[in-house]
Symmetry: C2
Subunit: 247 residues, 2 copies
């Protein structure tokens, strides 16, 4: 395969190729060599699309707004080209090549390694042969892959915003509340880990506890008196009401 | 020590005494013997407060609204009695004994074991001797304990509602969104685990990503079109605005 891009996702994909006997990383396209993992042979790094060699698969791990342009600039036709976006439709890719999507549903940071085997891959392809190749790749790369249409992928991205971005924002509020009262945020970390781990054993609706679930209005009113920040108060009210109404 | 109660917290405290050479479980008070761990000797289980023996510490692991009554019914004075509540003040305990609090900040379920060593213990006591005993106990029981006043504990409980109850509710919404679109919730679980694990490496504000953080209004509006449920839409809007305003 060839990986085009040098951002977070591109880097994690490259790392995930290391020592995988099924995958041969033919080339990496990047405008700056020093953003790439050390072990990538310099001879395989290119910065000009004209130098692209033949490969079974070209992965465009570029930003959403670069997908259309980069895919149209590829100097070949009828090869398999996929993007890695959670939101963009497969058809954003130039139709001169066989199109597909390989979306790793995970949050990647520069500074934190990840076990790529555990990353769920969402795959989609516009024809049978392409889908077969992506399935073969995915099954040799990760524990679980899923066939997800462009429409489903969009919805999945919304769900990911709730369980990742919004959850992380609640962690931030928890930290703010602690620090405004001279309490170490460390004290909440085991609870945060256990809350997440519980979903591996219980459905979230069965795992729910607390004053909203119990409709314990005494505690709920007490909490609203303790919260001095208006924004936190609004969030407390809305999420409490949502738990009361929907479990 | 003596443990009074047979609910979730009481049971996890009992389990955490097992094989700990520092702790001697003198008695357990419970109205029903079959709710207790198997290994507890039947001779140490009592169901009448009058049978209570002498001990260094009496832990009242009972529901919030039973604390005052049970503590006043204890047939002795000037001994150390603590409750385990996240919300109730230490002074709810009857003043005839030395009062304190031992609040394990974790979510306990009946069906899931927990490594008690990792549970943060919040301790408080009304005098030096009592505090010293609780500190000695806590340091032999868990990795990290914290001195937390009744006022701080109330605030901490609010923070815990944000990072536990509310976070779990967002997991529930993520699951609902998936299932309404024939997508397996399994696909979100690695993301949920990684989002939690990240706080061990990054401050939540630095870990934040996504369309709200980028103020990517195109994606935000797209998402609002995809979300058909009014309650989810309101939560999406409020949390997005909170991320935009507060990071």
């Amino acid at each position: 395969m060839v990986i085009i891009g040098s951002g977070n996702v591109a880097n994690h994909l490259m790392m995930a190729c290391y020592n995988n006997p099924f995958i041969k990383l033919v080339q990496v396209f990047s405008r700056s060599k020093n953003q790439l993992p050390d072990w990538i042979p310099h001879a395989t790094i290119i910065d000009d699309l004209a130098q692209l060699k033949e490969a079974n698969l070209y992965i465009l791990a570029v930003s959403d707004n670069a997908i259309a342009e980069v895919s149209s600039k590829l100097p070949f036709t009828n090869r398999l080209v996929v993007h890695t976006s959670g939101t963009m439709p497969m058809t954003l890719l130039d139709a001169k090549n066989h199109r597909g999507v390989l979306y790793p549903l995970q949050t990647f940071s520069k500074t934190k390694n990840i076990d790529f085997k555990k990353v769920p891959l969402c795959i989609e392809a516009e024809n049978e042969a392409a889908l077969k190749l992506l399935q073969e790749l995915a099954s040799n790369w990760v524990d679980n892959y899923y066939l997800i249409s462009s429409e489903q992928r969009k919805v999945l991205h919304v769900a990911a915003v709730f369980v990742n971005n919004f959850v992380n924002h609640l962690y931030k509020i928890g930290k703010d509340i602690c620090e405004n009262n001279n309490i170490s945020f460390e004290i909440l970390k085991p609870l945060i880990m256990e809350t997440a781990d519980k979903i591996n054993y219980l459905s979230p609706i069965d795992a729910q506890t607390g004053p909203a679930k119990r409709e314990d209005t005494i505690t709920l009113n007490e909490h609203l008196k303790i919260i001095t920040n208006d924004n936190q108060k609004e969030i407390y009210k809305l999420l409490t009401q949502s738990i009361i109404n929907h479990g």
